[in-house]
Symmetry: C3
Subunit: 110 residues, 3 copies
């Protein structure tokens, strides 16, 4: 089965555990299309030079779509150029998640 999962990461202090969960999910399910949306304070993890850059980079190379919420970027004074290479941007993280669910994707709150 080809699973499609959209995951939400909102808390900065849960980013590390969330990234581990993403790895575990890929390993456990094998065939999974994974998109991880970072909104609220968690968006800070996607800035170049953050302590999570290596893990984020690795997930992107494994085919995971990493997404930053533009509303959260604005609140945290983060510009497009500040983001780790390969990170995508959506206007509203929650809107993106709802659209994906409406399209049949399964939702996980990490």
């Amino acid at each position: 089965m080809n699973y499609r999962v959209v995951a939400q990461v909102s808390d900065l202090d849960k980013v590390k555990a969330a990234l581990v969960s993403c790895r575990n999910l890929l390993e456990d399910l094998g065939n999974v299309q994974l998109e991880v949306v970072f909104n609220q304070m968690a968006v800070r993890a996607l800035v170049k030079g953050s302590e999570y850059e290596g893990d984020v980079d690795e997930l992107i190379k494994m085919g995971v779509l990493i997404v930053a919420c533009r509303n959260a970027m604005r609140l945290n004074n983060i510009n497009e150029g500040d983001l780790i290479n390969g990170v995508a941007i959506v206007n509203a993280g929650v809107g993106e998640i709802v659209r994906k669910m409406a399209d049949g994707w399964l939702y996980l709150r990490l």
Copy 2:
């Protein structure tokens, strides 16, 4: 598309971010029927005079259904008359959320 979304807010320290996410969701999706269920400690945010009253009031005026969990109210010694005008009450927040999902609503944990 007319989205129907039931959102859960459980943590008092995440109410502010959750209310911002609700605004972003309405703005981003346009056509969305939104119900926000406050359970556990987050129910305290729905008391008259709370620092969130203005934002809650505005969401209600925008057509959002704001719901308090009666179980959580009991644990926090909150009576019906203590709630911000227009807030609805359900017996169990989690039960309400499950019923809505079973009826096809999409679920967000804020």
Copy 3:
């Protein structure tokens, strides 16, 4: 209606509230098949002698399936024999949750 719900508990400091929510859910819905997956730090709550043992035990006796994530057990140095009697184990909590959702179960993040 016979509801099938898979719930996720990830934070150790939210276990108490999560267990209360499980009780409320059973009481409110009546006919519900409930599986609760403990991953990340929350898995510590499932160790024999933990402060949550009594509540966990009671839920198991009420027919709730309590599940520990093996990845989280490894990170927390927890062995199978350390777990409260009756607790089940899966390789990856998030994988289990996704499989259940793909099978039509409703998802709650407690």
